[in-house]
């Protein structure tokens, strides 16, 4: 069994894969975004605040945030994923909602729902992180009041190396691997998503917190640029239409 020495795509241990982001990609939605990191791409569409149905799920004290994560059939690296939500998708939908709820402020919209749909046409690990990042962007695009932005990226440990933004190949490494998705609120640095898949020691985990926070800061810059890009005034609008 080989030990892990370097990344096959030439990245350093702290490099993220190339990222791109765009907002307003789905006209019909109240807000939408596309976020891609490496080969993992996520679309997010936001609808709301609107009437919450089924009625029994209404909360008279505040609006409800309802997230739905779904991978498209041939998006994954393994077998075809059956359309619709499986158990993994339901869990990811729940942690996505919990990752965004601390910043979303819809108390002024009781009994309503803000629906967030996340669809992934192509994945190469880090899909829930891409989904959360896209969802936060889509909420900002929709003008849903948010106290802060949320940026998400996964870090991990392979053998004795600590790295940022694992690819599917790295996650599948035949040895000791731990994959840890994070999500941070940008200003306060508070963590809104923290999960672990594998075995990791405390020292490494504490180092990973710092690495992840710095990496999430890079994701934030991409998110911010995507929002500002929409309102940039290009060229001369006064030119003859």
């Amino acid at each position: 069994m080989m030990s892990f020495s370097k990344r096959t795509d030439g990245r350093s241990l702290t490099d993220l894969r190339p990222m791109e982001a765009k907002v307003g990609v789905i006209d019909k939605a109240d807000g939408s975004a596309y976020f891609k990191i490496g080969n993992t791409a996520a679309y997010a569409a936001v609808y709301g605040p609107k009437q919450m149905l089924p009625r029994f799920m209404q909360d008279p004290r505040r609006g409800v945030l309802r997230c739905s994560y779904s991978m498209m059939p041939f998006s994954g690296m393994g077998e075809r994923v059956r359309p619709g939500q499986n158990r993994r998708a339901k869990e990811i939908s729940m942690v996505t909602e919990k990752a965004l709820l601390p910043v979303v402020d819809i108390e002024k919209f009781p009994n309503s729902v803000v629906d967030v749909f996340i669809e992934l046409p192509q994945t190469d690990a880090g899909s829930r992180c891409a989904g959360i990042t896209a969802a936060a962007l889509a909420l900002a695009d929709a003008g849903i009041p948010m106290k802060d932005m949320v940026s998400s990226v996964a870090c991990g440990k392979i053998d004795d190396k600590l790295l940022v933004d694992l690819s599917y190949e790295e996650e599948a490494f035949d040895g000791e691997v731990c994959d840890i998705p994070f999500a941070f609120m940008h200003n306060s640095g508070k963590i809104t998503l923290l999960q672990g898949d594998g075995v990791v020691d405390t020292d490494s985990l504490l180092k990973l917190f710092d690495m992840a926070k710095e990496a999430a800061g890079k994701v934030y810059e991409v998110q911010k640029n995507a929002l500002l890009e929409k309102y940039k005034v290009e060229g001369d609008l006064d030119a003859d239409q």
Binding site: G143, H186, L237, D238
Partner: protein, 241 residues
């Protein structure tokens, strides 16, 4: 003491820090958290003296007493009507605020307003639980017959109205259409079909460019080109933006 970190007309995103220190007062989509002022939504900054305002560039309509809006009757009740107002909530139009004459118990209310009727009305009351009451008592309130109903983002409506109603006056005069603008983002127009389309295109232009300057001039040029008529140089059209 204290420092403003952004400039007038700058686009900011949720969570962006606008100022530090206790000297400033947040308004619009800006809010205070301890000694910092931040933005809740993607919007345009407006700084004047000690007031820091964020004008949101997208987001849900929040009804206030006195707002004039457009609604569609969705149901006939015992002593009033239920009205759809393109929001997460439906409003109620009580019979006593809708009809001047005496209406006996058990009268057939559908002869005053029937399901599907469009009305231009005023918001008379909004509770913390978003129960909304409407009124037709205002002089300008009326049923709207025929015409065309358009919808733009509620946050762009002030731009459609313009300073001292200059923009909407220009749109009306240039196309000869009747125009009723609802603060909930619904706009009703009625005129000659070709002119209705010119007006619809002008409204789309305003929706897309609401955040830019020099818009009034551009809309004026567009209307002149489409209608073939020069627009009079009245004082109200000379105002920038």
């Amino acid at each position: 003491m204290g420092e403003v970190k952004v400039s007038n007309k700058q686009v900011v995103i949720p969570g962006e820090i606008l100022a530090e220190g206790m000297d400033y007062v947040p308004t619009g989509a800006a809010y205070r958290e301890e000694d910092k002022i931040l933005s809740m939504q993607t919007g345009l900054v407006e700084v004047s003296n000690r007031v820091i305002k964020v004008i949101p560039l997208s987001g849900p309509y929040f009804p206030r007493e006195g707002d004039t809006i457009i609604g569609r009757i969705s149901d006939v009740l015992l002593s009033g009507w239920r009205v759809e107002i393109d929001m997460a909530y439906e409003a109620i139009l009580p019979v006593k605020d809708a009809v001047n004459e005496f209406v006996g118990r058990g009268a057939d209310l559908s002869k005053y307003f029937d399901i599907g009727d469009l009305i231009f009305c005023t918001v008379s009351r909004v509770t913390s639980q978003m129960l909304i009451d409407l009124s037709m008592k205002d002089r300008n309130s009326r049923k709207l017959f025929g015409g065309r109903l358009l919808s733009i983002a509620p946050v762009k409506i002030p731009r459609v109205i313009g300073k001292k109603a200059s923009m909407v006056a220009m749109l009306k005069n240039a196309t000869g259409c009747k125009v009723y603008v609802g603060k909930n983002g619904l706009i009703w127009i009625d005129g000659e079909p070709k002119m209705e389309q010119v007006l619809a295109n002008a409204l789309q232009m305003i929706d897309e460019q609401a955040h830019t300057s020099g818009l009034t001039e551009r809309v004026k040029k567009f209307l002149e080109k489409e209608t073939g008529n020069k627009i009079g140089d009245n004082d109200e059209f000379q105002q920038k933006n």
